[in-house]
Symmetry: C2
Subunit: 424 residues, 2 copies
């Protein structure tokens, strides 16, 4: 936030001013080596801890306002910070400081027929816009990932978390500035005016990429309106296919974990495909039902257990994010692939099978960001993939796909070293 901000400033002018300041700050960030960025992130984490009183007080204001506005218990829980959660946020910022720096990495190099020495080197993308909803931890997480990859960031959080976000942002900037980073490297939009979000989405040439973080409504609005490239995460309608040659114990364990470990994450299984030739389907569905999951099946699935309700047409295209699962019995691998092609969201699909040929066919044919064999779809996560963190899981096809962390926040440039060559 900037002291010169006035409520009278039009949203487009505000976004332009902040974006230009962010771009100027980014040119400083682009020159910093890993140690300088890591030191700045550690200073920011220290300030988050030092500002615990202020941040929790600000969060209490948001919670009170949220209760008055009648927010659901689930939303209030997302919003709530306590000492432990704030420590987790500070630790996450420090964790990002320890990740390898992609900036400057040489992707590949070659010598052209002309004798020119070519290389592609990773560079930051520039200014990243983050538009997010009620979780105040995104303020710190997203800022840390952008900064660690040499990008400036313009944050726009949800109105429910406005005081929490401002307090977290102030602490972050205090730490960064103490380490010599320009304050404009991490900016928070000082208004909740929705027109300012529109101005961010329209700021082609000023903001290089927008990452929406939130529910489907937010992401769809951003995708529909943005003139800036969007790294978006839409549905996770994840499938697990139990092949005829699946190990029954693995099949039950993986299905239960994929659905029920945490039902609200994007990598949770939403549809179970049981091969008609798999002999132990009754045990798998019983394990899910006994675990507290409601099942909605096609006719053959319903025949497996009287507790299975009838699925409607929409069930096959629904991301429940709850203890509900659609179940279909399919006639072999091809039928499973067809179901996934028709109903999947290209997020994460898995096969369970001891047959290597079937496994490799599935891995080759399924066109999703993540395709697994003999593992729970709940592993679809940047941390589990060894990326150290994630800014999101991209379900688009361009730039980056699946879990996105520091590398996905970079681009590259071609360096060409000659000795006086001219083109014939």
């Amino acid at each position: 936030m900037n002291a010169s901000t006035t409520l009278a400033e039009a949203p487009a002018a505000l976004v332009t001013r902040l974006a230009k300041a962010g771009r100027d700050a980014q040119r400083v960030l682009a020159r910093l080596d890993h140690d300088a960025k890591a030191a700045a992130l550690r200073a920011a984490a220290a300030q988050l801890r030092a500002a615990e009183t202020e941040i929790l007080a600000a969060n209490a204001r948001d919670l009170t306002a949220g209760q008055e506005r009648g927010l659901s218990a689930a939303l209030l829980d997302r919003l709530m910070l306590d000492s432990k959660r704030l420590a987790g946020i500070a630790n996450a910022v420090e964790n990002v400081a320890g990740l390898p720096d992609p900036v400057g990495q040489v992707i590949d190099s070659s010598t052209a027929p002309s004798g020119l020495a070519l290389s592609r080197v990773r560079v930051p993308i520039g200014l990243i816009g983050i538009v997010y909803e009620s979780r105040p931890n995104v303020t710190a997480d997203a800022a840390a990932l952008c900064l660690a990859s040499g990008n400036a960031v313009l944050l726009r959080g949800g109105s429910e978390a406005v005081h929490s976000n401002r307090a977290i942002h102030a602490a972050l900037v205090k730490g960064l500035v103490s380490a010599g980073i320009p304050a404009a490297a991490v900016q928070l939009l000082p208004t909740q005016d929705r027109a300012a979000v529109g101005a961010m989405l329209a700021a082609a040439g000023l903001i290089d990429m927008i990452v929406p973080r939130g529910g489907k409504g937010l992401v769809e609005r951003v995708q529909a309106d943005a003139r800036v490239p969007v790294l978006a995460h839409l549905d996770g309608i994840c499938h697990t296919y139990i092949h005829s040659a699946a190990d029954p114990a693995k099949a039950a364990r993986i299905a239960v974990n994929a659905k029920l470990r945490r039902t609200g994450i994007c990598g949770a299984m939403e549809t179970l495909l049981l091969d008609a030739q798999f002999p132990e389907s009754q045990k798998v569905v019983a394990a899910l039902l006994d675990g507290g999951c409601a099942l909605r099946g096609d006719a053959r699935a319903m025949a497996l257990d009287p507790r299975i309700a009838a699925a409607s047409t929409e069930d096959w295209d629904t991301e429940y994010l709850d203890s509900v699962l659609s179940v279909a019995v399919v006639d072999g691998l091809d039928a499973a692939l067809q179901h996934i092609a028709a109903h999947g969201s290209q997020h994460t699909e898995a096969i369970v099978s001891e047959d290597e040929t079937a496994v490799e066919l599935f891995l080759g044919e399924v066109d999703s960001a993540i395709v697994m064999a003999n593992a729970s779809t709940q592993f679809a996560d940047g941390g589990e993939f060894g990326l150290g963190a994630e800014i999101g899981i991209a379900t688009g096809r361009l730039h980056a796909r699946g879990p996105v962390a520091l590398e996905g926040l970079t681009t590259y440039k071609w360096l060409v070293r000659g000795t006086g060559q001219v083109r014939p």
Copy 2:
């Protein structure tokens, strides 16, 4: 083209129908190995040669219509095909058949702490839309690059070349079908209705990426209207900076080549920055003037030669694509970097210097798709970079930057091989 097309079909319905057919065909392409795709491209090249009479007759119709419409000599030349040019088009398709196939390449692999084996594998993007203007060779070039990378393509060429494009497309498809490729792998929009272009740009989820090929007006329209991701090439306002420690002979040779070898290509130099401490600036500008280039300079540049006219403010932001060059005298490397940051289009910039420190600073600091040292900016070309061809030079920051060939027409998926892991 499809025999069932009727003029009565609404553009959105037409594009939806063609896109769905293209997506179905792409699933076949995705499974083909390199040899199958290469054989299909060679069959297409053979059919281009076999159809020479038909293609040149169709081109003659376009040329006649263009003359009647009063197209400029330059446009008519772009449109014109003869035996030699058509042979060049067929050879280019065969050349693409010989390029290494990016599909299936393992980008990287690792083992997660959970024991999961992770790898990222290149896969086709899907259905690519190409919107282009008067050069009929794009019909074959773009189709070949898309097909070689496992993508289906929906082409929409300019109305000036409609008969040429249809004849080239028919020959291509004849060859592909003879090799067992579905005809819908390469489709040409059967209408010149501009609303159909709008429908392509709006076809998010049906078309995965749009590549505009043509002038700035076309590219800007596509970028402004597209809801589909765009791989776009905007201005090439390329700079060459002659550092104080430049070799004078190299400086003159590189400057003349960068500007005058071909003035109409995007890698042509448009602004020359002369270091105030470089002692041979007069010789460099004289070489350009003697080569037939008009120079427009700032006050210090004008003092170098009486033939240099005064530059206006707009000159520094102009892509001439002609024998015209803006020239500024700058006080050192930092001033050159500032000029480039203010006026460059992030396409290609070059430094000429024998000072390694200055060279590396320039390569590090300039934020362009291509940054060169001691070479002509006219090397900014996929062929010269060893890519074998190019679908364009991307001036955006995401997905691919600089010359884009087969790799830039792919994305990746994560493959995860487990042994029954569930997430704790």
